[in-house]
Symmetry: C2
Subunit: 216 residues, 2 copies
């Protein structure tokens, strides 16, 4: 089983690494990081680069497509090379997935129309522009499309999809291997749980998080 | 504030990216990925490389040191260039931290003797060989040394340390920004919670997880 994780300028690292560190431990699978060109691809902070080992053209038929999000992603929403790859890969994929605002790229590629999906909590309304029904769930499965909420949710998505693909035993083994027994020191990971002033700050910075996404 | 995350051959990606995606969002901070040489450093799976932008020699005095773990880390435990950098950086650091078996490198560098610390649950006993008192906690702070349990725990460690450095508001803002509201589909992330056959499988693969670590 080939799992392709697509990188682009200013993606968010954990969006890609969460699924990599979970789905990528699927027995008899190969994870490949792809981008328009091979070589380093910088994350949103500019302080980290991951290597794309293969071009999009070299990996046209992965079994699992993973599209991360990121604040630099809005320019990608009109990047036809990237969107075409998503469309092509999706025609033969078993699962097409996203983390965070990666779902906006799936939507821009026309893959989510009429479906239920999720995204970073700040980007849920953007999904509606593409005829997608946003949900507040952390991981949403609609047919073969599995979308996850913001950044860190790709870990939960990866484990859930592992369970679907290979059963509970494999998924639990991966969870134990990465010791995913989360104990956040605060309970502020969702807007309905965080203090109001924290929510207000992040909302006011949504342009930072969503890049040049139209503010509505 | 300069945060240095050190990479080495066969490190585990999420060990490094968890702290990067949390601590790295500290206001007025700079995260720098360092290694013996600049350029790509491959992770344990071989399917991903992160770029080290600076050499160890170029970053001698970071404020925060982050040492990830990995199954390829045992050869690093006698890598004097790496251990010397840890010792030098530690003389001036405000915080010296690790994720997963990264604590074995801190211990091998003589930084944890007589202290309480944690590691991947399979590696806790290894800590004793260095005069370290292992604990089963997810994040352990002893003086300026902050060690985290396996792989995914670097996210919890990063948020906890953010709180110590900049207060609850900043830490909660980062948590909300990365939507860290974990909802694992299973409750199998710790050996006392996972099904017995899952624990047995991972224990039997501990050489895979701990690399060439001596089995005791």
């Amino acid at each position: 089983m080939q799992i392709a994780i697509v990188l682009y300028d200013r993606f968010t690292a954990l969006d890609a690494v969460g699924p990599y560190e979970t789905l990528g431990r699927l027995p008899d699978s190969e994870v490949v990081f792809v981008a328009e060109e091979t070589g380093p691809v910088r994350t949103d902070s500019g302080n980290l680069a991951l290597i794309a080992d293969r071009t999009l053209a070299e990996v046209p038929n992965p079994d699992v497509v993973v599209v991360p999000g990121g604040p630099g992603q809005t320019p990608q929403m009109t990047n036809e090379a990237l969107l075409d790859w998503i469309r092509i890969a999706d025609t033969t994929s078993t699962w097409t997935t996203s983390v965070c605002t990666g779902s906006l790229l799936l939507a821009a590629a026309g893959r989510l129309e009429g479906r239920r999906a999720t995204s970073h909590w700040l980007a849920l309304d953007e999904l509606r522009k593409f005829g997608v029904e946003p949900t507040g769930e952390r991981v949403v499965t609609d047919g073969k499309y599995v979308t996850a909420a913001g950044v860190s949710s790709g870990i939960d998505m990866g484990l859930a999809l592992l369970g679907r693909i290979s059963g509970d035993f494999v998924a639990q083994s991966v969870q134990l291997g990465i010791e995913y027994d989360p104990q956040p020191p605060y309970d502020a990971g969702a807007p309905e749980k965080a203090p109001a002033d924290v929510v207000e700050l992040i909302r006011s910075r949504s342009r930072f998080i969503l890049g040049q996404a139209p503010t509505t």
